[in-house]
Amino acid sequence: MSLLKTLFANCRDVTFLHQKQREGKLSFAESIGYRLHLLYCKVCRLFIHQSEQIEKCVHHSNSKHKSELSADAKIKMQRALDNEMQ
């Protein structure tokens, strides 16, 4: 990306750069372009806010996840394991 294009980042660029920003990997020019764009772009600010909420929730739903094997799946697994144990 040319320097000028980096400094004048568009919505596509900024949504791409968001992860780099989160991980502290923006170059100096990228970080200027990123921040400049967010100053005037409400939609990208919304995108970032929503994305960060989603990520936080994916992280926290960690402990909430209640998935149970169906009885059928258990029987199938038991059969496969029994086969192996013979």
């Binding site: 596509r12 989603i54 394991l81 192996e84 144990m85």
Partner: protein, 199 residues
């Protein structure tokens, strides 16, 4: 007799594995894969491989932790295989353009396209998160992300790996990593907007 059997199995009790750990392993797999058949297959594989490798189990270690560590490896291998097989076309220029054009203007402007633009959510986030229905929709949406992009997103957000670790595990370049993450975020946010927040 019992002691003999235990010794033979290196202190493990494989005949009780599925009852004891089946659900826990499945939940662990589902949290990362969000596809039932795949999760079931990998859990089954885990039990079978664990039995084959029972001699490598260290006495006094936790059976469950050991099984989870085998499952973890299987999940990474699944992601890895998926990424070498059919999904490299993500980086084809055409496929990339089709995907991006849905979200952003075709022209060089790169502004949000009309259909792909984020909208303010009509539902409260904190209350949503508490709802089982929302969790189900979230899981469905995660399951719809192409495996390679889902892998990157999951390893980052569920397993807290660094981007360097993820690139190494999946054998991808940093630039692939950013591209995949971008796609995962765009797709996941949109899916939740369509199926939950915008309803």
């Amino acid at each position: 007799m019992k002691m003999q059997e235990d010794k033979h199995n290196n202190g493990l009790e494989p005949q009780k594995w599925i009852e004891r750990y089946g659900d826990a392993l499945y939940a662990f797999a589902m949290m990362r894969l969000h596809r039932m058949e795949v999760a079931e297959d990998l859990v089954q594989d885990t039990f079978v491989s664990a039995y084959k490798a029972k001699d490598t189990f260290l006495a006094n270690a936790s059976e469950k932790t050991w099984l989870i560590s085998i499952l973890k490896r299987k999940i990474i291998d699944y992601f890895r295989k998926k990424s070498t097989q059919n999904e490299l076309n993500i980086f084809d220029k055409d496929a990339k353009d089709d995907f991006m054009n849905h979200f952003f203007d075709k022209e060089t402007s790169g502004h949000w396209a009309e259909g792909g633009s984020p909208q303010a959510w009509g539902k409260d986030f904190e209350t949503s998160v508490e709802s089982d229905e929302f969790q189900q929709i979230l899981s469905n949406c995660l399951g719809k992300i192409p495996p390679k992009a889902a892998a990157v997103f999951t390893l980052k957000n569920v397993d807290d790996l660094t981007s360097e670790e993820i690139c190494k595990e999946l054998d991808i370049t940093p630039s692939n990593y950013w591209v995949l993450m971008h796609r995962a975020k765009l797709q996941l946010r949109e899916c939740l907007q369509k199926n939950w927040f915008g309803k």
